[in-house]
Amino acid sequence: MTKTDLTLGDRLQARGVSRRAFLKYCATTASLLALPPTMVPHIANALESQRRPSVIWLSFQECTGCSESILRSNTPSIESMIFETISLDYHHTIMAASGHQAEEARKIAMEENWGNYLVIVDGSVPTGNMGYSTTAGESNIDTLKHVAEGAAAIVCMGTCSAFGGIPYANPNPTDAVAVSDVIKDKPIVNVPGCPPIPAVMTSVLAHYLAFGELPELDHLNRPKVFYGQNIHDRCYRRPFYERGQFAESFDDEGAKKGWCLYKLGCKGPTTYNACAVLKWNEGTSFPIEAGHGCLGCSEPNFWDAGSFYNPLSTATHLDAGTVALAGAVGVGVGAAAGAAARSQQKKIKAAPAKAFTPTKAEEESQ
């Protein structure tokens, strides 16, 4: 029996992970994915009999924060169990092999599992000068196209691979794009966030492994179950918003009393993510609970959507200077219009008065 022939059940057994811990993981996953409890045995059976599908993790223009988030999820974690389920055959940051051996491992994994492997991407893809980001002499876009060809599905971990993220932000010097801008013929699930919540990342993988398909997605290809509600709707500070009680600065009375952070630029109302429910750092808190507004990091173009500290109700392109300029133009146009009207009036006055001559219609009506 080779390494990949072992089922997850066998592997867990070998690692001394008890059946109880595994069942607990399945129950938690079902609850996270909002699946009915009757699905727990199904998930358990499906995962248990999994023969470690090959996963290739591609890192492009990224900061490794997404990898950090998923790898450092509370250890020894229930979430880290997902790594027992998959065969992570290629990942720059954590694989032991390096150089040619690493690339060789990827090649072998692709050949052996052509058409069946899962591709995870973090980071955006530069389309400008190919020298901006390469791996083993191959440009990111070529690697992506090549690896995606034999993939069963692609999971975009983080805002950069899902929507372009920070590399895509104005002025986008590398002409970065999202994975979905390059790959059009494969199922893609976006798991945005900067970084995404660890449990969200692992649950999406668990769903794919247990059911052989991606969870239900929204119009931005995000799993509905985690990205179906905005932060604002689930925020514990929401009652203060309703009453119009806002913190005006980060250290005033309102801030100390935990009032709404809308005035300080919170993007909760337009950000769809599960932070307010699942929270961060092993359920400790989430940004708004820590006293800072939501940046909207899981939304497309969050970096260019105006200042993080400007309320959503303000205009982004409009300022006093624009209004003043428009005012100057308005005065000019008005003066010209007035002058034109005056000269027209004078012309009419100067013309000799004409006797009234009724038109044909007026004659007929009389």
Partner: protein, 218 residues
């Protein structure tokens, strides 16, 4: 670019530019026009003061017409006060102006502004229905009247929907629609009857002077 990014950004920017240019253009254009000199003799002295008096006397309900136009007067007053309070003293709107001009001012609590806005919106709808059903009003109304009322109703309706999250649309779409409806109002404002904000007092003055010159105590 999402709908909200467009609404908060270029849409509002261009609408404001058109608004400012339009308002100044029309105001200056009208001011600079030549006025015809009266050919008859004045029947009264101090016409300027009389004109100013007319400007303000018409804010009050004339007793003789009390029964006939009282309803309209009352609703008109409540609506205009409600409009100013809602636009300039709602918390979130004060934030908007602060973002624009760099300074803010005290806002009214939501518990005051929301009922005021609701009443204002209700009055606008009542006045629109009245205009459509009253035969006399219908006869003298044209596209300019209907469109101006509807364009004014839209920001109120979308604003309410945004604040209360009523409706099937997500918050960002509602907020974007609110911004867009305001942009529409700004663009429509200088070129429609909404321009009365500028012309109402000068035209009352001119009318007052004309009447008083002829000995009519208006």
């Amino acid at each position: 670019m999402t709908l909200l990014e467009f609404a908060r950004g270029p849409a509002l920017q261009w609408a404001a530019v058109i608004f400012v240019i339009g308002m100044l253009w029309r105001t200056l254009g009208l001011l600079l026009m030549l006025r015809s000199r009266p050919l008859s003799k004045d029947r009264k002295k101090g016409l300027a003061g009389a004109g100013v008096k007319t400007m303000f006397s018409r804010f009050l309900l004339p007793k003789v017409f009390a029964k006939r136009v009282g309803f309209q007067y009352l609703l008109g007053w409540i609506w205009h006060v409600g409009f100013v309070l809602t636009v300039f003293f709602f918390q979130v709107h004060v934030m908007f102006f602060k973002g624009l001009v760099g300074f803010g001012w005290p806002a009214l609590p939501n518990s005051v502004v929301l009922p005021v806005a609701a009443v204002s919106l209700g009055i606008l709808v009542i006045l629109l229905v009245r205009r459509m059903t009253n035969p006399m009003l219908r006869y003298i109304s044209n596209f300019n009247d209907y469109s101006s009322v509807i364009v004014t109703i839209l920001p109120f309706a979308t604003g309410f929907a945004t604040f209360t999250h009523i409706g099937v649309l997500p918050y960002e779409t509602l907020l974007a629609l609110h911004f867009l409806s305001v942009a529409l109002l700004l663009v429509w404002f200088p070129f429609s009857k909404l321009f009365h904000v500028i012309t109402v007092l000068p035209s009352r003055y001119i009318l007052g002077v004309k009447f008083w010159r002829r000995g009519v105590e208006a």
